[in-house]
């Protein structure tokens, strides 16, 4: 037995205004061993074409503080590149945890993809 891997699927969607949004859909576990999946995938995005990024946690089965630290690193990198990051699909428990640690100052949390997309406008 060990940790489940982290899967990240990248998709491009459009918000109502037609502006492109890059969605990183996480699945599985997000832990200390997820750095290549989380930061590696993010690092492959072009800052020019991925100005708006959505993080989808709806298929994440397990998230711990080391995984949250990777999300903080992603948010830090995005802030350096002028990208806006919004988040959806967190369970109510992890919405509470994100709020407790103060991440919500740097990424807004939305209940679903539609409201998260609308949140960019």
């Amino acid at each position: 037995m060990s940790e489940l891997g982290t899967k990240v699927k990248m998709e491009q969607v459009q918000c109502a205004s037609g502006d492109p949004i890059t969605v990183l859909r996480f699945a599985g576990d997000i832990t200390s061993s997820s750095e290549p999946a989380v930061l590696g995938t993010y690092g492959g995005l072009s800052p020019e074409t991925s100005k708006r990024i959505l993080l989808d946690f709806s298929k994440v089965e397990y998230l711990n503080s080391s995984g949250i630290a990777l999300i903080i690193q992603l948010l830090y990198a995005a802030s350096q590149k002028g990208q806006t990051v919004q988040t959806f699909g967190l369970t109510p428990h992890f919405q509470k945890v994100f709020t407790m640690v103060g991440i919500t100052k740097y990424t807004k949390l939305f209940p679903d993809e539609a409201t998260a997309c609308a949140g960019f406008e």
């Binding site: 037995m1 060990s2 397990y62 711990n64 503080s65 369970t91 945890v97």
Partner: protein, 147 residues
């Protein structure tokens, strides 16, 4: 479950990341049997996972030959969890993460485990007793009164 007797369950986990999930699922089952609300069970699962990860990483330095012991003790009103390792205990006091500092690279992005544990359970303490090891003690209560 006989509420008049104190009951306990002991788990012995190798210091291998991922095995904290066994403690999480056991604690979740016990808390469900005791009648904890689902949101309190989620709090407990995160707190116990973080305590186990700290014990594996910092206490036992991920030496898989060293065991992390998790003891769940139930009584009528609360569930106590002790997570024991062979280390000397965490240094210093628990402090809330400073997200501004983390976002500016002035504070490590990690290091939130103890804060989360303290925030999610009703009681948390860390006891160092070298050379025998140290432990984290967490308590979550049924019928927690609103503050």
């Amino acid at each position: 479950m006989d509420g008049k007797n104190v009951n306990s369950i002991e788990l012995r986990l190798p210091s291998r990341l991922g095995f904290e999930k066994i403690a999480m699922s056991t604690a979740s089952s016990v808390a469900k049997l005791m009648g904890f609300a689902p949101e309190r069970i989620e709090d407990l699962k995160t707190a116990i996972a973080e305590a186990c990860i700290n014990a594996m990483e910092h206490g036992n330095k991920l030496d898989e030959s060293l065991i992390v012991v998790v003891i769940l003790s139930m009584d009528e009103t609360s569930l106590e969890v002790k997570v024991l390792d062979m280390g000397t205990g965490p240094p210093g006091v628990v402090h809330a993460p400073n997200m501004d500092k983390k976002m500016h690279g002035e504070e490590p992005s990690r290091g939130m485990g103890m804060f989360l544990i303290q925030a999610l359970v009703d009681e948390a303490e860390w006891v160092s007793s070298p050379p025998s090891g140290s432990y984290a003690r967490l308590v979550i209560r049924l019928n927690k009164t609103e503050e």
